[in-house]
Symmetry: C2
Subunit: 674 residues, 2 copies
Amino acid sequence: MDLVWISIGASVLALLYALVSTKIILEQPKGTPKMNEVAAAIQEGANAFLKRQYKTVFIFWLAIVIVFGLLAYYLPSSFNWITPIAFTVGAGLSALAGYIGMQISVRANLRTAKAAEKGLQEALRISFIGGTVTGMSVVGLALLGFSVMYLLVNSPIELIGFGFGASLVSLFARVGGGIYTKGADVGADLVGKTELNLPEDDVRNPATIADNVGDNVGDCAGMAADLYESYVITVLASMLLATYAGLSSSALILPLLVGAVAIIASIIGTYFVKTNNKNRIWSALNKSILVSSLLSAIGFLILTGLLGELQYFPPLIAGILVAIVIAYITGHYTNKNTAAVREIAIASKSGAGTNIIYGIANGMRATAFPVITIVAAVIFSYFVYGDGAFGIALASMSMLSLTGIIVSVDSYGPITDNAGGIAEMSGMSAKIRATVTDPLDAVGNTTKAVTKGFAIGAAALAALSLFVAFANEAQITTLSILNPFVITGLFIGAMIPYVFSAITMRAVGSAAAKIVEEVRRQFHSIKGLMQGKAKPDYARAVDITTQAAIRSLVAPALLGILSPIFVGFFLGVQGLGGMLAGVIISGLVLALMMTTGGAGWDNAKKYVEEGHFGGKGSDTHKAAVVGDTVGDPFKDTAGPGLNPLIKVINMVSLLIAPLLIGLSAPLMLHLSVL
Amino acid sequence: MDLVWISIGASVLALLYALVSTKIILEQPKGTPKMNEVAAAIQEGANAFLKRQYKTVFIFWLAIVIVFGLLAYYLPSSFNWITPIAFTVGAGLSALAGYIGMQISVRANLRTAKAAEKGLQEALRISFIGGTVTGMSVVGLALLGFSVMYLLVNSPIELIGFGFGASLVSLFARVGGGIYTKGADVGADLVGKTELNLPEDDVRNPATIADNVGDNVGDCAGMAADLYESYVITVLASMLLATYAGLSSSALILPLLVGAVAIIASIIGTYFVKTNNKNRIWSALNKSILVSSLLSAIGFLILTGLLGELQYFPPLIAGILVAIVIAYITGHYTNKNTAAVREIAIASKSGAGTNIIYGIANGMRATAFPVITIVAAVIFSYFVYGDGAFGIALASMSMLSLTGIIVSVDSYGPITDNAGGIAEMSGMSAKIRATVTDPLDAVGNTTKAVTKGFAIGAAALAALSLFVAFANEAQITTLSILNPFVITGLFIGAMIPYVFSAITMRAVGSAAAKIVEEVRRQFHSIKGLMQGKAKPDYARAVDITTQAAIRSLVAPALLGILSPIFVGFFLGVQGLGGMLAGVIISGLVLALMMTTGGAGWDNAKKYVEEGHFGGKGSDTHKAAVVGDTVGDPFKDTAGPGLNPLIKVINMVSLLIAPLLIGLSAPLMLHLSVL
């Protein structure tokens, strides 16, 4: 038990590192009043959105706490008062992680824009320091929260509520942020770039502030909450499996220590991000990830050696290898200079139709190798070494232990994206944009795709562990596909990610349509706007996007919460187990398809914009823009949203499992025999 | 055993009906020499394609027969000489079904064009008689072939090879025909409509004959082989399950008798297709399906009553209800005047990007109710009445027993599509096209979508039965998802439909690109072509498409044949079982998404073309055309191709199951412990 203090110490260290980094950011020069004005508008919009989003979360939180209270009161054998408390802490820390990610990002953007005057190196330094604040806060809060709670209740089973809280808030953050950011982005592009021929981030476009707000609430706050959740869930699942298997106390605590080791390795890794060459940005960032991975691997060897549990070293290495292989594969299908992306650009020559056909096909075939990698890791971790299912959990834990450095590398992207927006809108020299913020932003697309591949791969492994935990909680020893309830559960589970994606993509489409209308209205009614003589009403566009995104939050959240309850009570534990497996496998391939496909389209467009096949303004470019527009909700809303969805469904199932054991046979059977 | 003669009699009746219908078609007037010239070109192209396709099939057939021969020689305990013979008959009849479908279609098109001069009623009559030839040949050949083979070998287990032959040829026919038809269609549209502003089927477009050939080799030959295969597989699976369960001899023969009853009901149903009102075409066709369903239901009641097996009546009714419900749901998401399709048309107003986003979302959400319907049917058939898994098989058998009427209704569509092409190219009055062939063709889109929904729903149920049969052959009594081989098999299985779709969609894209190049080349090098003074080189475009389609056949076929062999030998029977389930569930939702989504886009374009939101030539229309282009490979290549893919994988697994039992543990485990 004393060993928990090590993970508490490491997580406090991560938070201190984030604090120091924050101080560095705040001390940077803030530029001209015009720049500050733009940044303030973005900040205000982001805060307004987060406030509204957290209000909705609060209502859900209240309803769920009441349900947990009632369950603890009436079913004391299955539920106790720890669940609502753990749920609250888990949800609260998730909200906090998102809040911190966003607050630092809306401040670092301005400082990065200013630093860009000094050149690429300084801009990269400032934006990356901003990124490390988010990265270290995410791992720090996740590990600290879980370790302290574990110290208090001394049983991972009591902390299932903690994981549920993390999952639920992260679903809201990912989906809400995702709809906001892509609604604003697609809307701004459709009317700005396509209809009015305005450049990106043009000061006359009323949706441009909303677009920049979106980077913060989606790519920063949403992503932070998402990875916080993945981390928490993985720690929880690993410790649950160790408990069920009755492993040694050092095996039980191992996931927390793995997290602690990787935090230190990640902090060291952050010092390797340095370059002044715009063609070497990705390799600089990549180096920090590789250094952190290598140091973590060495740390894991020492750790398992000291604990006398060397048999757990191989699955830990497998997890790191999966992370690296998936990052490599994702790059292969999404990097701007790969054959895969060039092919989409070539297809754009014959029009938007072929651009879409090749882009979707690219996303579809990109599912093969990540799946095979995960399959190999599962078989290896389960059989060759490790302790059965606990080996799989350890592999996912070691993957996610790299969250600190991965999120740091990821978060610098939206900061530079915003910095570019501020530079454009405040009338800074065009050269700054071309030579500093645009190259940084382009690499940001790749890091985002890599992070998403990493997140969904890790989520699949973590969900597998949760799935085994569910079987334990539901007292299932076999879950045979030959059982009709299991196979029908599988069918339903495979369908849910499609329905979820349909809901979220329609939400983006509808938010974008509202933005288009509003922008058209403003250009129509505000005289002199097109000539730059009058100012657009940014706040109104921000407000419309906020409302659209918040309103669209409810349906996907209810789908995640209610579907396992319905299936559980109608098809029983066997049906629910089938559904969980169905959601995991179908969700994994669909999410891989959407995130990789979306990034491929984005970079195919960028490839054309570099001057290939006619460059900007050509018909080929117009076709490539269509793919990019479709890719936006694929890669930033529906695809990454599947990640928390899978886990919310798993967590709800884990929570209701004790209630289902009591049911001698599924309800449906009773109904239909009537 | 004597009862088999009933199914033989009914299938001979179906074939006689097809023969009489053929005679009626051939006696119809054939129009002007110009019309005959166009029709001859289409016929020649279709024959050339089929010849080349069957050559490729022949090579695969030969390789497989050799493998079966070797297996029968060296492993006489698991294989015998019946397998290669049954395989040959199954494959041969599949090829014959496709051949008949195509031969009648390339003759009925011309007669329908001529009949169109007399009005809608006569054109509908001729094209529908053409459709019934295909419909009745498909069921006749399937039921006759299986019944006679069963009479000879007296054991469904010996006829697994028959099913494999049917599946393999149908995979070739669906995929080859699908790539051909959509490569030509997309290519012709991209360069003809979009670049050169030529109308559909314009005589100057060099790809226009290829486009019309495509209707015949894809929508007629491909679809006929596909449903022949579904029918055969379902009969096989039902009889296998009855055998494993040791049911009575009348239960064993029931699937054949169900087929016989429905043939008679379907023949009566064909007499109800009569209308002269262009707004009532669908209801006339629909009436024939409903009459056939009702008569079948009454027939099933009498049949099960006479056999003294009334307990099998409820699952038979369930199957018919599933067919009707799925047809209704598909219509809801694809019919031109529904809210769902109008929404896609509205989204086209803001551009191609939103058209695609809404169209994909439409396909995704359209998966929900068909899946729920299938789940309900499975639970009902398994538990409430019927005999466990045999109940599910009976439900799928009763669904597929309607194949005769469904294919008849479906096949009239491509015939009228071709008739429209002939009318256009031979310079017939534009009024004929507007008032007769276009309205018939538009309804053809809906019947195609309904047939595909029906086919994939039936395929899922049939595949479930095959899956149970596999478990029996592999001597598996449990297939627990908690087993790491099963869950990894599920992952791989869920990914395969994505990879298959990627391959086939890229093949369409690449065939289309070659057509675009060729058409551009001809307009560039043939002087006076644009002015209508010179003739294009149709044959060359036909030849290019044929080559592209045939070359693309091999990869998807190998994926279907080799993936179960690899997984079986590396992950063992448990892993293979997981993979089968994964392919079925993931394939079902993906196929539903693609076929429904594609039909939605197609009709959204047609809705705009009716004059909504600016009508033809407007920006909205251009955006809607993009969706239609993407929808083409979705609904006519990748989506329906998943159907035979699922079954080929199942059939290969069934065949290799006896070999896997001998392996004490999966090969992978041996390898990795080395």
